[in-house]
Symmetry: C2
Subunit: 452 residues, 2 copies
C-alpha cells in the first residue's frame, strides 16, 4: 500500500483496496506524513480517511494540518464529530484552531464541550498573540511536593494520557505556586519512599505568560530543556511550552526576519499556497514607499543637473557607486538584524559595533576605490578617477554606517530591527550616494560657466 | 551572591567571598548562564572557577562554551585535567572540540584516553562536516529485542549516566540492526514481564549517516521527535541526534541563509566577536564582484549616452526605475530562498511559481507605473511619463522574474539558492533595467539628429 493506491481506494468509495491493508497502512504511517498527503486531496476524500481512524489518532493528525487546511476540514465536519475531535486535541492546538473558527461554529462547539474544556479554551484564547500564554499548553503534569516517589509515579501514570510530556513534571506548593521541575528519569530511579521535594530542581527557569514567543524559543534553545513552565506574576503555574513548539516558533521567526530583510510583509501561510492578492499586498506597500524614497536620489540628480549635463561621463559611474553603497549597507544591516534577533548583539553594544563597522567600512571602501579608479582612468581620465575613488570610499562608509545603525535605531524605537531591509537601506544609501557623488564631482571638476 | 561578586572573589584569589556561598551559587546556576558569564573573563579566572566544580559539571559547562572559548581554555589546561574533561564530555561535543585542537594536543590527549573513547573520537571525527554523522552522538541507549520490560529498565538505569537521553531507547537485533524505538513512558507503565519487542514503534524514521544536517533538523521538526536514530547503509545504528542539536542547527542554517541573502559570506563565529579582518574578508568578495556586475548598467548607460545627453531629464527617473526593479527582485528572491530552505517549495514547483510570479509582478509593476507616471508628467511631460510608466511595468516584471528564477537555477546547479542575494539580484535587475529604460526612451522619444 502507498499513498497513490490509498487515493485510488478513496476515489472508488473503498470498492477497491483491501480494507485490512488500508487500516494497517494508516496505522503505520506517521501523522505528519499522513497529514501532508491527505491535505492535498479533495476535502471529502480527506474526511473519509479521517473517519477510518480512532478518534485519538484523528486528533493527532489534525494537529499536523496547516491552519487553512484545518479550517476547510472543520467546515465539512458534523458538529458532534468536531466536538469529539476537540476533546481529544492538544490544549494548545485546540485553542489556536478555536480562535480561527467562525463565531457560529464556536458557539455551537462550546455547547457540546465539557465545562472544563470550555474554560480551558476560553482561557488560552484570551492571551495576546505571539506571547507565551498564546502558545503554551495546559496539558502538563503537576505533582504535590509532599508526595512520595511511589505516589508521584502513580499520579504520572494517571495524567500521562492527557499530557504533552511526562518527562518533566512540575511540583507545586499548596497555593499552586511553582516550586520546581522534576525529571522522570530521576523519579523512576529513586527509592519509592523518598519525597518528591527531595528530587526537584529548584531552578526551573520559568518564563512569564506575557513574554514574547521569540524569547521563549530562545530560552528553550539556550537551556536545552524539553519544556519550560509558564507562570503568572504570582509564580503560579499556568502551562508549559515544549521544545517542538519552540522549534516551530524559531522557524517562523527566522522566516519572518528573512522576509522583512527582503522587504516583504509577514505571510501567514506558505508561499506556495498564498493567494495572488496576498502576495501582491505583502509586497506593494514597500515597493511604493521605496519609489518615493528614491525621490531623494532623483532630487539629488535634479539639483546637480548642470554638472551632469557638463560631464555626462559621470552618469556611467552612477550605478557602480550608489550600488556599492547600497550593497555594503545591505550587508551591514543583514548582519545586525540577525545578530540582534539571536541575541548575539544587544543595544548596549551599539558603540563598539559602530567603531568596528567604521574601520571595516573604510577598508572595504578603500579596496573598492582601487577597483574602480582603474575603470575611472580608462573611461574619464585622472580627474574623473579621483572623483570616483574618493566617492567610493565615502559612500561605502556612509552606506555601511546607515545599514549598521538603522537596526539599532529601530530596536530603540521598539520597531522590529528586521524592518531595516536590504532594499530600504539600499534606497537610503542611494540617496546619500547621489548627493555625495555629485557634490564631490562639482567641487573637484568645477561647474563650467556655460550650461543649460 | 551574583556574577559581579563572583568576579571580585576570583580576582582576589578567593581571599574575598564566602567559599560555601560561592559553591552554593555555582551549584544552583544553569551551566548555560555560567558559561556565558565566565567566557567573558580572563582565561585564568575562568579556569579557577572550573577547578571549583566537580568534573561532570565542568564537562557540562564546557559544552556550553563557544568553540573559540573552548579552544582558549584547553590551551591553558594541564593535560591530565583535559583528559579527565574529555572522558566526561558528551560524545558529540567532544568530537567537535577534538577536531579543533592542534595536532600535538590531539596526540597527547589520545594517549591518556581509554581505548573505547579513543575509537569513539576517531570514528566521529571521520564524518564529513555538516552531515548527520558529524553531529550525532554515540551516547544513546540500546536494548535487545529479546529483553523483558524489567531487564530493559535495569539496563536503562545502568546506561543512563552516559546517555544523552533515555526517553527514547533503540532496540537492535543480533546484527546491531535497528528494529525500532521505544519510549521510556511506554516502558515504565508496561507489565514487567512483557517483552521489549511488543512495545517498539517499528517506524523509527531513521536518518542516514551521510544526510545533510539541515535535512536532519527538518526531520526532527517535522516529526516532533526528541531524537532521531542515525544508521548506515546496512541499517546498523551508529548514533542519535537530539532535538537540542536540531535547534542549534536550524538556527545556524537560518543565520547562514540570512547572511547569504545579504551577500555576506559564512561567519564561523558571532558578529560581536568576529575579528575585523574576518568581517572584511566575508564582505569584500561580493562587493567587488558586484561592482563589476554594475558594469553592465554602466555599459548600458555608455551605449545610450547620446539619448541621455539629449534628454538629461531621463536621469532623474533612473534611481526610481532601476531601484524598483531591484527591490521587486529582492523580494521575489528572498521569498524563494526561504521557501526552498524550509521545503515549502521544491524544484518541481518552478513552473507554477513562475506563473504566479508573472501575474503578481505585472500587478505590482502596474501599480508602480501609476505612482510614477504622475511624477513623470510633472517633471517631463506626457511623453516622458509614458516612457517611465511603460519602463516601470517591464523592469519590475523583469526584476521579479530574475529574483524568482535565480534561486531555482542555483538549486538546480547544486549551489545554495541563498546565493541569490538581494544585492546580486538588484545588480542584475539594474543592468537589465538600464537597457530597457533607455531602449524604450530612444524608441518613443527618438534620437535628435544633432548630438555629441
Amino acid at each position: 500500500m502507498n499513498y497513490e493506491q490509498l487515493a485510488v481506494a478513496v476515489q472508488s468509495g473503498f470498492s477497491s483496496g483491501d480494507p485490512q491493508e488500508i487500516q494497517a497502512f494508516l496505522a503505520a504511517e506517521h501523522p505528519a506524513d499522513l497529514a501532508a498527503h491527505i491535505a492535498e486531496w479533495p476535502v471529502d476524500h480527506a474526511l473519509q480517511i479521517l473517519a477510518l481512524l480512532p478518534i485519538q489518532r484523528q486528533a493527532d493528525l489534525f494537529g499536523y494540518f496547516e491552519p487553512d487546511d484545518q479550517l476547510e476540514l472543520t467546515e465539512q465536519l458534523p458538529e458532534d464529530r468536531l466536538a469529539a475531535l476537540f476533546t481529544e486535541m492538544n490544549a494548545d492546538e485546540r485553542a489556536d484552531l478555536f480562535a480561527e473558527l467562525p463565531e457560529s461554529t464556536q458557539q455551537a462547539l462550546l455547547k457540546r464541550l465539557k465545562r472544563e474544556e470550555r474554560e480551558d479554551i476560553r482561557r488560552l484564547a484570551a492571551y495576546e498573540e505571539e506571547t507565551a500564554g498564546a502558545i503554551m499548553t495546559t496539558d502538563f503534569v503537576a505533582l504535590d511536593s509532599g508526595m512520595t516517589v511511589r505516589d508521584a509515579i502513580e499520579s504520572l501514570r494517571a495524567q500521562a494520557p492527557d499530557s504533552e510530556t511526562i518527562y518533566r513534571a512540575y511540583v507545586l506548593d499548596e497555593n499552586k505556586q511553582l516550586l520546581g521541575a522534576l525529571r522522570l528519569q530521576n523519579l523512576i530511579f529513586a527509592r519509592p519512599d523518598r519525597k518528591v521535594s527531595e528530587l526537584i530542581e529548584a531552578n526551573a527557569l520559568a518564563v512569564h505568560v506575557d513574554d514574547d514567543q521569540e524569547e521563549v524559543a530562545r530560552h528553550i534553545a539556550k537551556y536545552d530543556v524539553l519544556a519550560v513552565p509558564v507562570v503568572d506574576a504570582g509564580n503560579r503555574l499556568l502551562g508549559i511550552i515544549t521544545y517542538d513548539d519552540a522549534m516551530d516558533i524559531a522557524e517562523e521567526e527566522a522566516t519572518e526576519d528573512i522576509h522583512r530583510v527582503g522587504a516583504v510583509g509577514d505571510l501567514d501561510i506558505g508561499v506556495r499556497d498564498a493567494p495572488l492578492f496576498m502576495m501582491y499586498r505583502k509586497r506593494i506597500v514597500w515597493l511604493v514607499l521605496l519609489v518615493f524614497g528614491a525621490l531623494f536620489s532623483s532630487g539629488g540628480i535634479a539639483y546637480f543637473e548642470d554638472t551632469i549635463s557638463a560631464y555626462v561621463a559621470l552618469v556611467f559611474f552612477l550605478p557602480m557607486l550608489i550600488g556599492s553603497a547600497g550593497n555594503a549597507g545591505s550587508q551591514a544591516a543583514t548582519l545586525m538584524v540577525r545578530a540582534l534577533a539571536i541575541g548575539d548583539v544587544e543595544m548596549k553594544d551599539w558603540g563598539v559595533m559602530i567603531g568596528k563597522e567604521l574601520l571595516v567600512a573604510i577598508a572595504l571602501g578603500g579596496t573598492m576605490a582601487i577597483a574602480v579608479s582603474g575603470i575611472g582612468i580608462f573611461r574619464g581620465g585622472p580627474d574623473i578617477a579621483m572623483v570616483v575613488a574618493l566617492t567610493m570610499i565615502i559612500v561605502v562608509t556612509f552606506g555601511s554606517l546607515i545599514g549598521m545603525s538603522l537596526p539599532f535605531l529601530l530596536q530603540r524605537l521598539k520597531i522590529d530591527p528586521a524592518t531595516a531591509s536590504a532594499p530600504l537601506v539600499a534606497t537610503l544609501a542611494d540617496g546619500g550616494g547621489v548627493l555625495i557623488y555629485f557634490a564631490i564631482a562639482t567641487a573637484i571638476l568645477g561647474l563650467p560657466a556655460i550650461s543649460t
